[in-house]
Each structure stands twice: as C-alpha cells, then as structure tokens.
Amino acid sequence: MTFFVVIAVLGILVILLTSYNSMLRTERLHMYRIIYGDNALIIAEAAMDLLQRVVEDEFAKTGYERKNTFFNYEDLIKPKGEFATVNFDSAKLTDLIANSDPIKGLIDIFGGSRVARIKKVEVYIDEKNVKYFSDICGMTPNFVANTREKFGIINYAVQVEYYEITKSLNIAKQIKIVHTLPKALRHFTFFVKNIPQGTDLNKLLVDDNGNPVSGKPLVLNNGEYNSNSSASPLDCGVVFLGNNPASEPLVLKLSHGSAKTGTGELFHLLDKFYLDQEFKKKYGGNGFQVGHYEYGVSSGMAGAKIFGIRSQKDVLSSMLKLYGTPAEPTPTRVLGNVNRSYLRLAAYQDTPTNGDDFMGDMPNAEPGEFQTTGVKPIAEKGEEPIQVHSCEWIAKKILPETLGGSDLYQAYAEFMNQFIDYEPYNYSMCTPIKDKNSLACDPNRIPEFAAKLYPGGTNSFGGKPVKPVDEEYCGDDLRKLVVDEKYALPYASYKFNGDQDFAEFKKLFMNGSNPDALRLGLAVQFENAVKLPKMYIEKGGMIICEKGDISITGDIEADPLQNQVLTIIAMDGDITVSASKVEAVLIAMKDGLKYKPAKAVNLSGTLAVNSMDFDSLLACGGKINFRPVQTLSNAQPHFYYASIQPDVRRWKVVIKGE
C-alpha cells in the first residue's frame, strides 16, 4: 500500500511538475512573442514614419519636380467621373523602405535581416472615400467648377516580420488635392477690381526723356513672347482695371521714353529703319524711311536722330506703365474700359550700318477713327532756341522730295499729327507689333479678338474675358471675380491663430538649415493678422489670412530652379508691403480691401486687389513681373496642384497581428 502511495505521489508530482513546466514555457514563449511583436511594431512605426515622409515628399513636389516615381500624379488629379482608386507602386515602395539606410541601420540593431524584415508596404487612396469640393461647397456664380479639387483618405500599411512574428501597422489620413493658385487670377499680372470715379492715374510728371520728375511709376512686365518659339501671346500676363462707373472709360496718358533709360512708352514709331540700296542709289544719301507704331515694343532707337518729341509744357502721364519700359518692353492685354491717350507724332532717322538693310514701303495706314484734338506744336530735338515746327515741316525734312509731292507731306502730317484720346488700350493688338526679336503679334492668334478685348455694346469691361481666363471665369464683368471663401478656407490643412503663432508656423515649415527657407507644399490659414518675414521659397503653397491684414515685412524670394509659387491671400484685410522684393501672388479681393505699398516693391507674380492706395503707389513706384510658369497650358494640369496631408501623426492607427 505504501508503495502505491509513494508511486502515486511521485507520479502526481511528475505530472504537476510537467504541467507547471509546460505552463511556464508557454508563458515564456508568450512573453517572447509580446516582446518580438513589440519590436516588430517599433520597426514598423519607424518604417511608417519614413514611408509617410517619402509620400509627403512626393506630394509636396509641384510642377517640374514631379517624377511620378510611385504613382502617376495625373491619376490623382483626375476630375470627378474619371477618378479611380489610386494604388501606389507597392513593390517599389517596399523595396525603397526595406533597403533604405535608416531602416537597414535600425534592423541591424534589432539583430539584422536574419531576424527582422519589412515584408510589405502599401499606400492607396480609395475612390469610395473621395469627395469633391465642388459638391461640398456648391457652385460659385461665374466660375467653372474645378472638379479636380477633392479630399479623401489615404491609407498606409506596413508589414514587419520579427522572429516569425508578423505585425501590420495601418494608418489612414486625410488628403486634400487643391489648386494653390486661385482660378482666373493666376493669369493676371495686375488686377484692380475697383477704381472709383474721378481717380486720376495721370499724375506722373516726366521730362523730355520720359524720366519721372515727380512721382514714380508702377512698371509692368507681362512676359515676353518670342518669334522663334511657339509661345502664344496668351501666355503673357493680363491686366484688368475695373473703373467705376463702367460707362466712363479710364484714360491712361502714355508718355514718350528715351532709348534705354526712360520709363515712358515708345509708342511713337519705332520700327527699325531700313535702308534700301536701290532706294539709296535712286534718291541719293537720304535713303531712309519713316514709319510709325502706336505701340512701343521695338528696339533700335540708339543713335537715331529724333525729331519732334518734345512738348512745350509739363507732361503728366500715367503712373501705370502697362507696356513696360523702352529697355524692357512688354506686350499687354488690358481688360476693362480703358483708353490710352497719346500724341501720334514722330519721325525717325536712322543711320544704317550694313548693306543688308531693307527699305520698306511708306506708311500707309489710315488715320484711326478716334477723336483728335488737332495739331500740336513740336520742336526739333537739340534745336536751341526751340523752334516750333509743324509735322509737315518734319515730313519735308525727312522725306525726299522725289518721293512725292506736297500732297504726300500733307497726308503724312495729317495722319501723324493727331492727339489720340479715345483709343482702346488694346488697339495695337489689331496691328502687327514687333518686339525686339522681330515677332509680329498676330491678332488672329487671339480668337474672337474684338469681342473679347474691345469694350462695346452693353459690355464696358473689355469684352468677355480673354482666354485662358475665360476657361475658368465665365462671367462678363470681371469686377465680380472673387476669391471664394467657401473654397479657399477648406483648402487649409493647418490653422494658426495669427501672428502670435508664427513661431509654430516656423517650427513646422521653416525648420531647415536655412532659417528663411519656406517648405510649405500646402495651404495654411491664419485666423487673424499676420506679418510675413523674410522668406526663401523652396516649396510654394498658399497662406490665407481669414480676418486681418497681411504685412509683408521681409523680402520673399523663390528658388529659381524650383518654379515654386507662393500665393498670399487676405480674405478680409489689406495687404501692406514694406519689403523691396516679393516673388508671390498677392490677393486681397474683398470690397474695401487695399494694397498699400510702403516702398518700391519688385513683385514677381500677380497683384490682384480690390483697390489700390494710388497716392502711396505714386510715391513708391514699383514693378510687377508676371511669372509665365503661372499660365501653363492644359496639357500640364498637374502644375500647382498640391496634395496635402494635414498632419503626420494624429490619425487613427490600426495594428494587426498575425
């Protein structure tokens, strides 16, 4: 009996020990699994962080930078109806993350690739979770809805294996896909919505050379089209001046400019003069031609003997130099009921330098059907004391008698000797214009030119807005063009209170080795007034101020290699600029808002405002250069679309174990 008891006790003991042992072993294995799983998750988190950075970096790229490495950006910005689920290239991403130096270094610490590895990486945007701003925000009158702008969910998944334990980390984040340049406005160099009645813009006093004596002009450079390229004049920046009331045209007085230094418009004659050798043989040494252009986009004044470009009294001209300067002429399309006023009076003698020069026909253009104010006195330049001469006198002086009789001189004098007051600013678009590259601007390149650019009938606003503007704006009155709050504010992915939060803004977007470098790539919103300091734009985007003024206190420059554009919008406040250089699109369109320059600013981009402080402008002057990269053709719609992930870490995380 004792024996059996002993055996039984021993047996039970063995069973208990075995069970306990097994339990401990199981428990230990379980704990190892926990540790291994945790380690797998730590690796997955690091890989997820890196993955998001890779995708964010790809998203933050705009325009030329994009290489469509992991997905086709065109797929992302497909409009409603065409958009489908976007699957990023999982194999490429897995390969990149798994073989990246940071992850390899991390895995080495955890025991090397023998025990740990990135199994799979996935990123996708499900079409089921995508909504369109045009549906949510509703339609804006006169605007063509942009159905490419959308928001949805982007899903990330990382699968890591550690000692045969596999863990999956999944993150879903919101993504917004928006155009960071407001529709229509991006095509303008200069847009002033409201110029009150009685505003006199002709306050710039200039001397004989067209240089300002009192006041400073605002000079535009709308871009340059080149005869040797296929660039269209439509790619140049457009100007809109919204006079009020619309029935009273705004008259801008042009002033002459000297060859290189003046700020006036070389509108008088300015085709290059050609000497025809046959003509020279026939008529002797005076083989030169007189021509005229109302629009000064030509070179060739240097060395010329100029007749008759001298007034007898102070010349007040427009403070807005929409044609640029003689040294930097620019084509201009002006929308709005705007006339130009100038003295059509010029003669020009050139000394040809080579035998290839060509003698063209005499000018035979018909006098324009505009109101004129008769003959104005002129004088020969350099003549002391000044003698008043008629245009006919000039004609006789420069035209060989053998070319024609007195009728010719008279006809020429009548044609040239006019003071034009009521000529639409765009009249030159109907005549061949030659720039310094000898490009003739063919008006036929602008479809429905007259209907679009000439005020007339019930439309006093320069016709229907010219393409490409009217692809986005379909109204007749550009004064109704707005930045729609319903659209602009939801674009923002980060929101700051105001200037007091600027340190936070800097921490997020200006945190590189260059403390001035801005890497935005998205839209941010300040609820109240904000001061923008010196910035160097490495990645553009949009800064929107909901209420309050925007003060630009430091120079804003864009990386010339990146073609980045920063758009700065004051939704309900003024824009004050005390910087000397700004490469950005500045917009303050709401009623009552103003642009207030504090010093001469050299702006590259667009200035679109409700109204201007023209007195400050006259005191400061300035320059606006249109950036042609803003008006890319429809073949490249991905330019300036930004894909935005608002936050890196505050989104739902789902962990799956296997």
């Binding site: 042992n21 926990i34 690091a46 990246s100 130096d101 610490i109």
Partner: protein, 153 residues
C-alpha cells in the same frame, strides 16, 4: 483449534525491494530533471519578465524622445542612467534596481535615402540598452528607433 494461517496467494508476488528502489530511482531521476527544468524555466521566466520590464523602460525613453522636437534630441542624452537619479527623465517612471539604461543617439546628416540616391535625408537612430544585471553588457535588452527630419535634394 484452527491454526489455519493464510498462506501467500498462489501466483501473486510483491514488488521486490529492488524493484521499488528502481522505480523510486527512475521517478526521482525524472523528478529531478523536471525540478531542474522547472528551475530553468523559472529562471527563464524571471529573465523574460525582466526583459519585458526592461523593454518597457526602453520604450519609455523612446516614446519620450519621439515626443521631442527633432533638434532637441541630441547626444546630450548619451550615457548610462541608473535608478539613483535621472534629471533628464524625471517625468518618466523611475528605474528600479537592478536596471540600468544606456542611451546612444546617432545622428546622420544629408545621407542618401538608399545607396546611390540623390534624395538626401537627415535622421537619428536612438539606441536604448536596458540591462538588469551587474554588468551593463550582459542581459541587455536593446531597442532602437528612428527619427526622420526631412528630405532634401
């Protein structure tokens, strides 16, 4: 008088002492092995429990580091920390004996994301060793993570 004595049952026999001793010996050997195994398992369990605790001490630091701005995570954190005091991690659960924590921040600047890539990256590897033996190099629980600053071209 009946002197009938029970005689052993015919055909049955008791275990011999030898058999009993052999059985006890076998069971003892098994029991000893089991006990030894039990002791090992117990030690292993203690070890793994300590490892879990060590991992948690390591993760505390990693989570804390990841909550800091990138620029604040620097090599001033490098060094060995014991249960005695730790000003740097005063907000974290205190270490207890015998745990020691060794932290190493390794910074990489402007490194290619992958070999040969023109995409450059700044990042930091945060290594945390937590030991729970006298020697910092034994019974180590090593954990690391990664902080990525930005990409540049």
């Amino acid at each position: 008088m009946n002197n009938n004595k029970k005689s052993p049952v015919r055909g049955s026999r008791a275990f011999t002492l030898l058999e009993i001793l052999a059985a006890i010996a076998i069971l003892s050997v098994i029991a000893i092995n089991l006990l030894y195994s039990l002791s090992e398992q117990h030690r292993g369990t203690t070890d793994i429990v300590n490892k879990v605790i060590a991992a948690n001490f390591a993760k505390d630091v990693i989570d804390y580091m990841k909550s800091l701005p990138y620029s604040d995570v620097d090599n001033s954190f490098n060094g060995v920390e014991t249960f005695v005091s730790s000003e740097k991690f005063k907000d974290l659960p205190p270490l207890r004996e015998p745990f020691k924590r060794e932290i190493e921040i390794i910074e990489f600047k402007n490194k290619p994301l992958v070999a040969g890539s023109d995409q450059k990256i700044n990042y930091k590897l945060i290594k945390v060793n937590v030991s729970f033996d006298k020697n910092i190099n034994s019974k180590v629980n090593l954990i690391a993570t990664l902080m990525v600053e930005k990409f540049s071209k």
